[in-house]
Symmetry: C2
Subunit: 436 residues, 2 copies
């Protein structure tokens, strides 16, 4: 399992130096990290922490942290595939980095983009709910936000709107193209479920399966073909790509008008800014806000805490909440008092990628809890030997919250529904069809 | 004065419908707003609140709020230049907007981008410091962050680095181009002070003065000329532009590699994201962080509150603080309890554009206060009849803070210093010169 995750992490980001942190000596400044994989010096460096690993999922890429460490050059030689220990200051101070052979070459104003390591925030008390939370009794006063049901309703709305588009364009429908490189089973599963959802709502789906050993040029050409194809309104490149392919270049090749994932920095920038509208809002955070809006939960003037600051969930979720006039605080792995800060929130969006990080005492009585986490934990009693749990200890939180999403069946089903919405909106823009 | 501000606001954003809010009946939901200027229906709508107006300044554009109201179409006819009263729900709920003739046509997920109105957060107790804060006694234990001194040091560093660049490129120096349309006196003053700063550090400055009645094409052509000029590494378009010119189009014409203002959504997006580096960080927020860094104020793990969420200061400042591992909360005009939230902050960046908004009791003992505000208030005793004050009531805050910036002489001088840094860094990228 760990080997697979590491391989994925490595291939996801074309790393040359991979720092893998498994365990930490103590919760203080210094952590003892194992240097796992060093192939080349003067190379891009990536930190990878197992504790923050998310289960591969349509909406979640591995928690690889390719950061401003790119601004560091390593001038010391490390043996390849060694497990030599490397003392790593957290966050990597310039002095310490320098002492281990990394020298800063970048823009100091940006600070060091360090790995997100939540372990020392984890409560060691066992969460009683681990194995029985599905059967946890929910107080009648608590609203269980049913993501599955809401996603189904949205799909129905999309289906109706697709039919309207079709009738107004003499038969044209929105089109979603998926680019898949290699033969990874899980990626195929995601593509399959997206294709199925497209079919359900009348969106045409296109799929291009390229062999694992395709060149970067070939992948870019396929993207270009879909860019030029007027029947395609959204393009998804299934990540991660094989290691020999530059992911950033392939993603940059996607026409921003077809970037239905909404991850393009231009879309993120416009989402952050007032007076600008992004073409697409990333699917998972959009799903979180839709859950709030459709559950009639007031956002304006509320204090919202977002736990986690990933590019694909935490950061855009915070931007969206602020757009809806919430006062937003973003808690991350460097927050010394995440429980205290979260405890002030009227709305909590948990997107740290750490199983059961958020305990009952993090939740203010009456708060609304949206749990984005999809974490795999071992469960010998389960058929597959593992099961999915959220970032929130559901059984504890449900005794405090006024509304909460379950895992699974909360945010999860919303991601594909939002992808359908983004594709539909893109098609309507292309066809020049306005809202009713 | 008000007329000038309104004219500027209108020309800054090519408005067709301008909602001007002057006074508010009470601090509740409903405010009574005067409809000032309606030229055309089915038009772009902009809200403008006098209370949030900033003094025109090199680093501060008028607080015009061109928002998602663009997603609303007005279907009712209003008389032109009428002062008819319009009841406006704040924030403009769909129902209320609909009742006054505005119908939503946009992307619901983004929420309404409402005007930033701070009035009801203002403490009505007179700030004793209004007229004597410059002479306020500063406790010896309080660090007065001297922006003027730090800016001078930075300019010296830039001058040394420019000399190094020059020696390594056989005489080439960084170049900054300024595009000025029309004859506004204040704009000329800003351009003059930027040119003077360039000269001091050895950066070559270019200036193109176009007549007020220049066509959009002519302005874009001038920008294009500077884009193509290899001796120009940064381009500034002095805002606001005359009303007949589409500001967004002109700004979009600036090559992102020469966008030394850092306002391009691509740069803002990359600043917000982990693992990406913007080419430029906007000057004023960069100045705030430099003040903290150079005053040896620890940011990592601290709770920072940013007051205000403008595109040019608040939003990028929050992103930068988070990059430096602060836990960031953004307080804005919809925050019901700004004093309470700000009172939890170890670091406060005040960028609301409201004179003396932040009172002593907003500040936690020992907090660090960075005051970005540059507000004009009437002062009959002053030569010009007015004087500049910050967003923070200095005399009150100085009794609580451990470190604080004065106004003027705090953040102000940093903006041009950071512009010089951005221009230098751009030139080094263009020349292929790395840091020492």
């Amino acid at each position: 399992m760990r080997a697979i995750l590491l391989r994925r992490a490595a291939s996801a980001a074309r790393v040359d130096v991979l720092l893998y942190t498994q365990s930490f000596a103590r919760t203080g400044e210094i952590l003892s990290s194992s240097l796992l994989h060093v192939k080349q010096m003067h190379a891009r460096c990536i930190c990878f922490a197992e504790s923050a690993v998310k289960v591969p999922h349509a909406s979640v890429t591995p928690s690889v942290h390719a950061g401003n460490l790119a601004h560091y050059k390593c001038t010391r030689s490390y043996a390849s595939d060694t497990d030599a220990y490397l003392s790593l200051v957290r966050p990597l101070s310039s002095n310490k980095l320098s002492s281990i052979g990394f020298h800063r070459v970048g823009i100091p104003i940006l600070g060091v983009d360090s790995p997100e390591i939540w372990t020392h925030h984890k409560d060691l008390r066992p969460c009683q709910a681990i194995l029985d939370e599905v059967s946890a009794k929910v107080e009648p006063s608590v609203i269980l936000i049913d993501g599955k049901l809401i996603a189904e309703r949205i799909k129905q709305e999309v289906a109706e709107e697709v039919a309207r588009v079709k009738s107004q364009t003499a038969g044209k429908v929105p089109g979603l193209a998926m680019v898949l490189v290699g033969l990874r089973e899980d990626a195929k599963t995601y593509v399959w479920s997206k294709k199925k959802a497209c079919k359900e709502v009348g969106i045409e789906s296109f799929e291009e399966n390229l062999p694992e050993d395709s060149s970067e040029e070939e992948v870019v050409n396929v993207v270009g073909k879909f860019n030029d194809d007027p029947s395609v309104h959204g393009i998804l490149v299934q990540l991660p790509l094989p290691k020999h392919i530059n992911e950033e270049r392939v993603l940059a090749a996607v026409n921003v008008e077809k970037d239905v994932d909404g991850f393009h920095p231009l879309n993120i920038g416009k989402l952050a800014m007032q007076g600008r509208s992004p073409l697409f809002v990333p699917c998972t955070p959009r799903g979180c806000i839709e859950l709030l809006l459709r559950s009639n939960i007031d956002i304006k003037g509320k204090h919202a805490v977002v736990i986690g600051r990933s590019n694909i969930v935490g950061t855009p979720a915070a931007m969206l909440l602020q757009q809806h006039q919430a006062t937003v605080s973003v808690v991350h792995s460097y927050t010394p008092n995440p429980a205290e800060i979260t405890n002030r929130a009227d709305i909590v969006i948990a997107a740290a990628g750490v199983a059961h990080l958020v305990r009952g005492d993090w939740i203010k009585p009456g708060a609304v809890v949206i749990d984005v986490g999809i974490n795999l934990i071992e469960d010998p009693s389960a058929k597959k030997g593992y099961r999915l749990v959220g970032d929130v200890c559901f059984k504890e939180a449900v005794t405090k919250a006024s509304a909460i999403t379950p895992v699974p069946g909360g945010v999860g089903p919303m991601t594909i529904a939002m992808l359908l919405c983004n594709t539909l909106e893109s098609a309507k823009r292309a066809f020049g069809i306005s809202d009713q």
